[in-house]
């Protein structure tokens, strides 16, 4: 089974509507240790993505490039730029292709994690969105179609969230409150887990 522009379109619609709904929850998660804007920023990004006309192309690379641009135009926050970096990696891998196998997606996620880690000067284990994506990559290695992928990704994201909750944050200002951050979800990780719910 392969992932096509149509799947992408569906995913983007789901993402945008989820993000709209999650705005207050994610803001309040961010406000505990950060500046309280994760939800608003992601909702705005979601609206930017929903406005992208994905019908215009079959080329997955071109589609991901449109999503990259929409993401990076909608915000300048850390999280937004990292998500844009992920889309850009996907765009490079899928350039010129109209479909890719679901079984290849986990490797694309791995590539994104590498690019994001370089951009964010952060690593898996720092209790960020990178941990969620890394866990998703690990849990979806055996997925062969969309349903399998989504189910496995959901459990990966939830496992990462549960496992890192009691670790201290290592990134951004939250780093200063290692004690306080123990027991709290990273807002970026929470976002990924809830989107997949």
């Amino acid at each position: 089974m392969s992932l096509t522009a149509a799947d992408l379109s569906l995913a983007v619609d789901h993402l945008a509507s989820k993000l709209e709904e999650l705005e207050p929850v994610l803001n309040s998660a961010d406000s505990r240790l950060g500046d309280g804007d994760t939800g608003t920023m992601l909702a705005r990004m979601g609206r930017g993505l929903a406005d992208v006309d994905l019908e215009s192309t079959d080329d997955l690379g071109a589609a991901f490039m449109l999503l990259t641009k929409a993401t990076l135009a909608s915000t300048g926050s850390s999280l937004g730029t990292l998500i844009g970096t992920a889309f850009m990696t996907f765009a490079k891998t899928t350039k010129g292709k109209s479909e890719i196998e679901w079984s290849e997606v986990f490797a694309m996620v791995d590539d994104a994690v590498v690019a994001m880690s370089a951009r964010g000067k952060s690593a898996v284990g720092d209790k960020t969105i990178l941990d969620s994506l890394n866990a998703i990559a690990r849990s979806t290695e055996s997925a062969t179609d969309r349903d399998e992928f989504v189910t496995q990704a959901r459990s990966g994201a939830q496992t990462a969230l549960d496992e890192l909750r009691d670790q201290p944050c290592q990134i951004g200002r939250a780093r200063m409150y290692k004690e306080q951050s123990i027991g709290m979800d990273d807002p970026g990780m929470l976002a990924i887990a809830l989107i997949l719910k």
Partner: protein, 332 residues
């Protein structure tokens, strides 16, 4: 926490329109319309200086666009870094062929976006150098000083780099003095009451009626400790001690002091705080040069203040006191 605004999504755009309508020395530019540049043409042979950052901190960042200060500023949404496009537009606006210094606060989004922007403009042969403001002693331990956030003290780097660039110094030289200014600056803030994001219905943090928070971040990120509200004199003494632990000062040293309001704290209180900081420094034989008291870097209607100290040498003092003019700071 009421706001005199229109639709929250127009907050930044309308604010910028008002700013440039009031200050003809500033012009909005770029496809994104999220860049403010000097209205005057670029000085040939001058290194450009670009800054950027989230909205909600006026006069920071864009209020310091002016002669002898920064040349262009990329403007993000409230408390978000500027988008990459704006960073690119700002660099293009400031470039006169001698290279551009990117001088901004050490925040994740800002850093990543300016980094990507500088990679993009490099393809057009624009040379950039980057210096990050990281004056907030509360935001990381001395061992991790390079991870510290930039707060109000950044304006000292603007002034000093801007004065150097006016001398038509090279990019390397302008970056050197900017870095020197950053290295000689320390800040610490204290918060008494929160602000509210225009898109939100709740304040960005909660604090009791009788509490203050030492070292709180300019976006409301938790600080070093909370205590019950202390007197102005005690508060400023604690702030100064936190700075001195990191930037030792001896009798005969010369410093500039910035006693900055976060937004809702009256000028009267800033002067009361400054008075004590000044006395305590004088007691140590430290001389205060060109002090600044006012709302120079805010968090909208947050109540509180920050203290910044810039330790001077002859070079920094000459650049700090060289003529320069932007809408919110003028020397000479």
């Amino acid at each position: 926490m009421k706001k005199l605004i229109n639709a929250p999504e127009n907050y930044v755009t309308e604010m910028l329109e008002g700013l440039v309508a009031c200050h003809p020395s500033l012009t909005i530019c770029g496809d994104s319309q999220r860049v403010v540049r000097r209205s005057a043409e670029n000085t040939p042979g001058k290194v450009g200086i670009v800054s950027g950052g989230g909205s909600g901190h006026l006069p920071l960042f864009t209020g310091y666009v002016g002669q002898g200060f920064i040349d262009a500023c990329a403007i993000g949404n409230v408390f978000e870094g500027p988008a990459i496009d704006s960073c690119v537009d700002a660099i293009n606006a400031a470039d006169s062929g001698q290279g551009v210094l990117l001088l901004f606060g050490n925040y994740g989004g800002d850093r990543m976006n300016f980094e990507m922007a500088s990679e993009l403009v490099a393809m057009d042969d624009i040379v950039t150098a980057t210096v990050l403001g990281n004056d907030d002693v509360a935001s990381a331990s001395p061992e991790e000083a390079s991870k510290r956030r930039g707060v109000a003290g950044l304006i000292y780097a603007y002034k000093i780099a801007g004065a150097k660039a006016e001398q038509l110094a090279t990019l390397e030289e302008v970056a050197r003095v900017a870095q020197k200014a950053v290295d000689a600056t320390r800040s610490i803030g204290i918060a008494l009451a929160p602000c509210r994001l225009p898109s939100s219905t709740e304040p960005n943090f909660q604090i009791h009626d009788n509490e203050m928070e030492m070292g709180m971040g300019i976006h409301g990120e938790p600080g070093l400790w909370r205590s019950e509200l202390k007197s102005a004199d005690e508060t400023v003494a604690e702030m100064l001690n936190l700075i001195l632990a990191d930037l030792p000062l001896a009798a005969g040293d010369r410093v500039s002091v910035l006693l900055n309001g976060l937004g809702a704290t009256p000028l009267e209180e800033l002067f009361i705080l400054f008075r004590r900081a000044n006395q305590l420094l004088a007691d140590r034989g430290v001389e205060v040069v060109a002090p600044i008291v006012g709302n120079m870097a805010t968090s909208m209607e947050m109540a509180g203040a920050s203290l910044s100290i810039l330790k001077l040498d002859d070079e920094l003092e000459a650049l700090l006191t060289a003529p320069g003019v932007c809408p919110f700071w003028r020397v000479g």
